[in-house]
Amino acid sequence: MHRSLTISPDPIDESALVAARRMTSGMGAAVYFSGVVRGSEDAQPISAIEYECFRPMAEHQFHQLFDELERRWPVESVRLVHRIGVVQVNEQSLWVEVVAPHRGEAFVACQWLIDEMKRVVPIWKKPQP
C-alpha cells in the first residue's frame, strides 16, 4: 500500500494533491475528504483554530493506523495531510484520500481513518476568538 503523510503548517494545496494521484488499472474508486475550519466552535464565533501536534507520536500513530487500514481493506493508496499551527476559518485543516478497487471499501476505510485519527493521533485544537 502506498502511503503518504504530511503534517505541516503550510496551506493544503488540494489541486496539486488531486493532480498527483496515481491509480493502477485495478482501482475503481478514490474517496477523499476535505476538512475545513468552520466559523464557530461550540456556538461561539471564531477567527481561526491553532492546531498543536506532538509530532513524533502523531507520525507513529498515523502509521499504525495505516498498517491497520492495510490489514482491513484492499486499499492501494492512502494519503493524508494535516495542517498544524494557525488555520483560518474557511481554510483546510485536513485532507485524506483513499484509493481502492470499489467504492464501498474506499468510503468505509476513509471514514474509519478519520474516526481513528480523532481518537488516537495527538493533535489538539485551540480556537482563536
Binding site: F54, M57, I114, K118, V121, P122, W124, K125, K126
Partner: protein, 81 residues
C-alpha cells in the same frame, strides 16, 4: 530513576509549565508517577479521568512500569481534523 514529563494542549496551562521531571524508585508505574504529579500540580486532578498517557510515542496504561530516562506525555483527549 529520572522520568521526564511533557504536558500538551491545555495541560500546560493546568500544570503551569510544559515540562517537568520526577525522581522515582525503580519499578515505579505510571500510576505512581501520576500520584506525584497530582500532588505537585493539583489542577491536573480534575482531568484525571480523561488524561491520556504516552511513554515515548505509544499509549500506556496506569500499571505500565517505567524505566530510567522514559519520556512520559500527559494530555487531554485528542482533537485532530
Amino acid at each position: 530513576m529520572t522520568i521526564r514529563i511533557q504536558f500538551w494542549s491545555y495541560f500546560k496551562e493546568l500544570a503551569g509549565c510544559a515540562q517537568a521531571s520526577e525522581e522515582l524508585p525503580a519499578g515505579a508505574t505510571i500510576g505512581d508517577l501520576l500520584q506525584r504529579l497530582h500532588a505537585r500540580f493539583p489542577k491536573l486532578v480534575t482531568m484525571q479521568n480523561s488524561t491520556l498517557i504516552a511513554v515515548g510515542v505509544e499509549y500506556q496504561n496506569r500499571d505500565h512500569v517505567l524505566k530510567d530516562g522514559d519520556e512520559v506525555s500527559l494530555f487531554p483527549p485528542v482533537q485532530g481534523g
